[in-house]
């Protein structure tokens, strides 16, 4: 049990080398090997999604005699019930998933961050109002709210993107708000205000760059969660519609083949896991680089 004591020694301030802190915060963000691993993993997933359609067979080419086959030379990951190439469909599914998640998370950040900055820098009343609105959105479980919005608007990719943007927005706003609250009393912000810099300029040119590194963490984690949510909603028939390939949709189809062709359930699931896992790895890596003392407790919103 001496390990408790040894751990304490490591965690004492000054005992760790803070040399990395000399660089810019963004360079620091990618200082951790986990971040590099995450970056590579995200790169591989992106490569499959982007380059896949250029080199792989047509994901919609039907070849009935070759239906439900395992991996082979002609079809590297086998075929689905229509004889379509699974790897091509996974690549297309990943592409759909990635741009949809990036788009909705991007929109969530674009709305959430300014909202949070305004709350954090604004007066007590503005802050209280925005904070309660965020709490109200957060009172709904992510998936249930997205489901509800899509059910009301009707299924489809555009509605799915709106739903995902809405459910992820509060996380960005909360992050920006807490950073802004800390910055409010920081010397350089007070100095800028004292020099007569307009409030709005202080907000966006002074505060925003400081919010950027933790924002990167939240962005990559959120894209991961958005991929999961998109897959879940498409699985329930509320997201991407056939014949477009989506990983969740493939899993829904695979449900009919669980006893006859379980391989079909494995491939899209592994693809989702890799895509989500690489985003989370990247997020965690950046987080570690920013704060070496914190061993990655990223769900502590």
């Amino acid at each position: 049990m001496t390990d408790v004591a040894s751990n304490v020694r490591v965690a004492v301030p000054g005992a760790t080398t803070d040399a990395g802190r000399q660089g810019s915060s963004l360079r620091l963000a990618f200082a951790d090997p986990v971040a590099i691993a995450g970056l590579i993993a995200v790169g591989v997933v992106l490569l499959i999604a982007v380059a896949g359609p250029l080199v792989l067979p047509d994901p919609n080419a039907i070849d009935a005699p070759a239906a439900l086959q395992g991996p082979s030379g002609a079809h590297l990951l086998g075929t689905d019930p229509f004889g379509r190439d699974l790897l091509s469909r996974v690549a297309e599914g990943l592409r759909t998933s990635l741009w949809l998640s990036a788009l909705s998370v991007g929109a969530a950040a674009l709305i959430g961050v300014p909202l949070g900055l305004i709350a954090g820098f604004g007066g007590a009343v503005t802050d209280a109002v925005i904070a309660r609105v965020l709490d109200a959105v957060l009172a709904f479980p992510t998936l249930l709210l997205a489901l509800f919005v899509v059910a009301a608007l009707g299924p489809g990719v555009a509605h799915l993107a709106i739903a995902l943007a809405l459910v992820f927005m509060p996380y960005f706003a909360r992050l920006a708000r807490s950073e802004a609250q800390e910055l409010r009393t920081a010397g350089f912000v007070e100095a800028a205000t004292a020099y007569g810099t307009p409030r709005i300029k202080v907000l966006f040119s002074v505060a925003l760059p400081n919010v950027l590194p933790p924002l990167l963490v939240q962005l990559s984690l959120s894209v991961g969660f958005a991929i999961l949510a998109e897959a879940g909603l498409s699985f329930l028939g509320l997201g991407v519609r056939p014949p477009q390939a989506a990983l969740g949709l493939m899993l829904k189809e695979a449900q009919d083949y669980v006893s006859t062709f379980p391989w079909y359930s494995i491939v899209p699931g592994v693809a989702i896991m890799l895509a989500v896992g690489s985003c989370m790895l990247l997020g965690e890596g950046i987080d570690r680089g920013l704060d070496p003392k914190r061993g990655g407790g990223f769900r502590e919103r």
């Binding site: 329930l236 989370m280 003392k293």
Partner: protein, 335 residues
């Protein structure tokens, strides 16, 4: 002799409750505005949307006219919201188009079924996460820590519904150890009820264990770096005692808070899990309602879940206050 005249033990909670309710009530009201607003975004006449498939039945014309009148569709939107909120506040969530019964009675009937599943997933997860997270935090970077971290990342990245599907294939279809889907009420047979519970609960368990283990690990590592641990070591306190008496005790409060948040999140995750295992709780009710465009049911479930989440957070916050006197002193500070 008391060194500190702190008789705040009985005095902290009325103030805390008042402040928390002052937050919770506006949040619930805003959540209701969201539910009302999103439903109104649905294309078509609001009364038609509410009636759904009942429009095809005889006498639909009169029902539609009556409902239009009841919803006050000729009045401004704010008045319509007021009418709707008045109904909701009295527990009237409307009538299900599919079942013909009141939405509140449907929810009351399905809620215990879902609660059983969620508790069976999260309670073991909290216990396992406390043990795993603490063990990993004792030696950061050790093989055990790496294994725990790797497992946690896997648990986070794996889609719950895919995991559910895999569990179903392996244990329900291939090995036939457990029933693949369905539900038996505990009143009929407790053994059967539990056998049906294992697979869906395991799907929720794996995800939750991942999230909570990461949290416990980070919290314990953070606490081990605190000055009081150094003091305790300097005083010659046994490491095991430091861990159980101080570190775990200080980590418990935050764990309660996060577990309550996760308890709420699971009301979203159960939708897919219940669909896969045909577990007839709130999730399956929601999915069926979406398929049938049975809007009163969807609205009712979403609103009820939001209320449960707000209440769960309130209870967790109160528990946290009771566990940790230091947090009590922050009552009333801007959050």
């Amino acid at each position: 002799m008391r060194l500190t005249p702190r008789n705040r033990g009985s005095a902290w909670w009325p103030r805390w409750l008042g402040l928390r309710l002052a937050q919770a009530i506006p949040v619930l009201l805003l959540a209701s505005v969201l539910v009302f607003g999103v439903t109104r975004l649905s294309p078509g006449d609001p009364a038609t949307v509410q009636l759904g498939m009942r429009l095809q039945r005889p006498g639909a014309e009169q029902a539609l006219a009556a409902l239009r009148n009841e919803m006050g569709l000729d009045k401004p939107i704010v008045a319509q919201y007021g009418i709707w909120l008045g109904h909701v506040a009295r527990g009237n969530l409307g009538t299900s188009a599919r079942y013909g019964s009141s939405v509140s009675s449907l929810i009351a009937q399905k809620f215990p079924i879902t609660l059983e599943l969620i508790l069976a997933g999260i309670v073991p997860a909290v216990i396992a996460a406390t043990l795993l997270g603490t063990a990993a935090a004792k030696r950061p970077g050790s093989p055990l820590d790496l294994a725990v971290n790797g497992f946690a990342l896997f648990g986070l990245a794996v889609p719950t519904f895919w995991l559910a599907l895999l569990l179903l294939i392996v244990f329900g279809v291939d090995l036939r150890w457990l029933p693949a889907s369905g539900y038996t009420s505990p009143g009929t047979s407790i053994g059967d009820n539990l056998r049906h519970l294992v697979l869906p609960a395991a799907s929720l368990f794996i995800y939750e264990v991942a999230i909570l283990t990461r949290f416990v690990r980070a919290k314990v590592i953070e606490q081990l770096g605190e000055e009081y641990v150094r003091t305790a070591i300097a005083k010659g306190m046994a490491p095991r005692r430091i861990l159980t008496r101080h570190v775990m005790r200080n980590s418990l409060g935050p764990l309660v808070t996060v577990s309550a948040l996760e308890f709420g999140t699971l009301f979203g995750a159960i939708v897919v899990v219940e669909e896969i295992f045909r577990w007839p709780g709130l999730g399956l009710l929601t999915i069926d309602a979406i398929t049938d465009r049975d809007f009163p049911v969807i609205e009712g479930v979403v609103l009820t879940v939001a209320a449960i989440v707000v209440l769960a957070n309130l209870v967790a916050d109160g528990t946290n206050m009771m566990l940790n006197p230091r947090v009590r002193d922050t009552v009333g500070r801007r959050t």
